[in-house]
């Protein structure tokens, strides 16, 4: 690990003042410390922001305001999250291990980096995300876990977060603070597609700090869930995952929320599938048709073509379960 300075931020203003070139904010450290040990990340300084905000509060609009320092366990355990946003509780509980969920924060979870093995392989692999312009060994290599949507010639990595997938489905909003003041940003706009600059994961400005995650009031989210398909039954990253909520009235889809994990460089808002479903019949056939529409532009690699039918069937099954119809 490269030497670095460590400081604990007293408040958001202090954190932002300390965030200079080459520094990184530190949450639970479960990804960043590992990346530093592997020398993938070499920050000159860490600004520990875990003490800043760990409250979960009701908003005037009927949603929840979640401090960025709330630990993953505490968020999944919160009564209002379990009852009003079960897709979020389920996604968190499907991620990592109990020990890591006790350490990891909400802000850190969103900003964790890909688990592409070529990204980690500092000794033997080329990676444009790790060393811009060096090339991508995943494209012609073992790419079973990689992206099928939105990838580029420079990068086919996926975003690993489970928690981010329901936040995209719910259209949650981030509260940010930087040297130029405060702003809000939909989670849907936080992560970038790789394009020519896969080394840049998000649209955050340098030194900008996530202070809170706001969930909107969304009564339909009570009928929601998260389903994760992975190589073993626990403690593994998603091959594909689905966060879904649906409201059916008289056999017709009145509203639907759908987001996918494990398929792209960012948690994927399945807007095409949502548009295909709203106002149509709540049938397994319609769900399968909408799922297929979402993957019309999918570009599978050598080893990951299975993700298209896997995700299509999983979307169909999850929506059928939530709508109470036979798949």
């Amino acid at each position: 690990m490269t030497p670095f300075r460590y400081a604990r931020a007293a408040d958001p203003g202090d954190a932002i003042a300390r965030a200079r070139d080459g520094s990184r904010y530190l949450g639970g450290g479960t990804n960043l410390v590992d990346l530093m040990r592997e020398t993938v990340e070499r920050p000159a300084a860490l600004v520990d922001v875990t003490g800043l905000s760990s409250a979960i509060e009701e908003t005037d609009e009927g949603g929840l305001l979640i401090g960025a320092g709330v630990r993953n366990t505490a968020l999944a355990e919160h009564r209002a999250v379990r009852e009003r946003y079960p897709m979020l509780a389920r996604a968190i509980l499907a991620g990592a291990s109990a020990q890591i969920r006790n350490m990891a924060t909400g802000g850190g979870n969103l900003l964790q980096r890909t688990r592409c093995t070529y990204f980690y392989d500092t000794a033997g692999s080329r990676c444009n995300k790790r060393v811009p312009g060096s090339g991508c060994d995943a494209i012609g290599g073992f790419n079973r876990i990689h992206a099928i949507l939105g990838a580029s010639e420079a990068c086919v990595a996926t975003h690993p977060s489970d928690m981010a997938v329901p936040l995209v489905a719910l259209d949650a909003v981030l509260h940010l603070r930087g040297s130029d003041g405060a702003r809000t940003l939909p989670v849907r706009e936080l992560h970038r597609l790789p394009g020519d600059h896969p080394e840049i994961d998000t649209v955050l400005e340098p030194g900008e700090l996530i202070t809170a995650i706001e969930l909107p009031a969304l009564p339909m989210a009570r009928n929601s869930t998260y389903r994760k398909v992975r190589d073993r039954s626990s403690y593994a990253f998603a091959l594909v995952s689905i966060a879904a909520a649906i409201e059916v009235e008289g056999g017709t889809v009145k509203d639907v929320r759908l987001a996918l994990g494990g398929v792209a460089h960012k948690p994927w808002h399945a807007a095409r599938a949502e548009a295909a479903l709203i106002g149509g019949p709540a049938t397994a056939e319609a769900f399968a048709h909408a799922a297929a529409a979402e993957f019309a532009d999918a570009r599978p690699l050598r080893d990951n073509g299975f993700k298209v039918p896997l995700a299509t069937r999983t979307i169909t099954a999850v929506l059928a379960d939530l709508a109470g119809v036979d798949a």
Partner: protein, 185 residues
């Protein structure tokens, strides 16, 4: 404020690179906590922080300023001049063949002690059917899911789950061996 380890105050390391795991093993010579993968994947380094389980390999010691750390050596507070008392879960690991080589055992035991407290307070897991329930039915599937962050390369998981069940859930886990559920949901 220093952190405490098994009740004793410990100064923070000068170098922020020192992990909590290395502080425990290399500086305090508390070698019960094991270094397995050193990347958060195996759980051998599990310790308790204010009663909650974490993996100490991914923890920088400086982050735990003012916190109370408990390692396997501290699960049973020692009386003056005494030693050798086992936690009931340690005794159960012996009785139910909860280990073979023993390398993962301290992490398994610390993890299970905290897991029992999580069950007690009703924390749901990935396999909990009803998120809104106040209590969790401690099936064998629940125990296996909740212990999935602790790997045993010897394959002693059945004995480990028996030992945990015998200590925290039922008096005699024998009828619940293998695939049968501990408690019918």
């Amino acid at each position: 404020m220093p952190l405490t380890v098994n009740g004793a105050p410990v100064p923070l390391p000068d170098d922020p690179r020192v992990s909590l795991l290395d502080l425990l093993r290399e500086q305090l010579h508390l070698t019960g906590t094991k270094k397995g993968c050193n990347q958060g994947a195996c759980g051998a380094c599990t310790v308790l922080v204010d009663g909650e389980r974490i993996v100490s390999c991914l923890a920088l010691a400086v982050q735990y300023d003012g916190r109370a750390i408990t390692t396997v050596e501290g699960l049973v507070p020692k009386a003056a001049g005494e030693g050798g008392d086992l936690h009931p879960l340690q005794q159960a690991f012996i009785e139910h063949d909860g280990f073979q080589c023993g390398y993962c055992t301290p992490g398994q035991i610390c993890s299970a002690v905290a897991m029992a407290a999580e069950l007690e307070r009703g924390l749901p897991s990935h396999v909990t059917p009803d998120l809104s329930a106040d209590t969790v039915v401690p099936t064998r599937e629940e125990l296996a899911e909740r212990m999935s962050g602790n790997l045993c390369r010897c394959g002693a998981h059945n004995g480990i789950l028996d030992a945990i069940a015998a200590t925290f859930i039922v008096d005699d886990p024998e009828p619940y061996r293998a695939d049968r559920p501990l408690v019918t949901a």
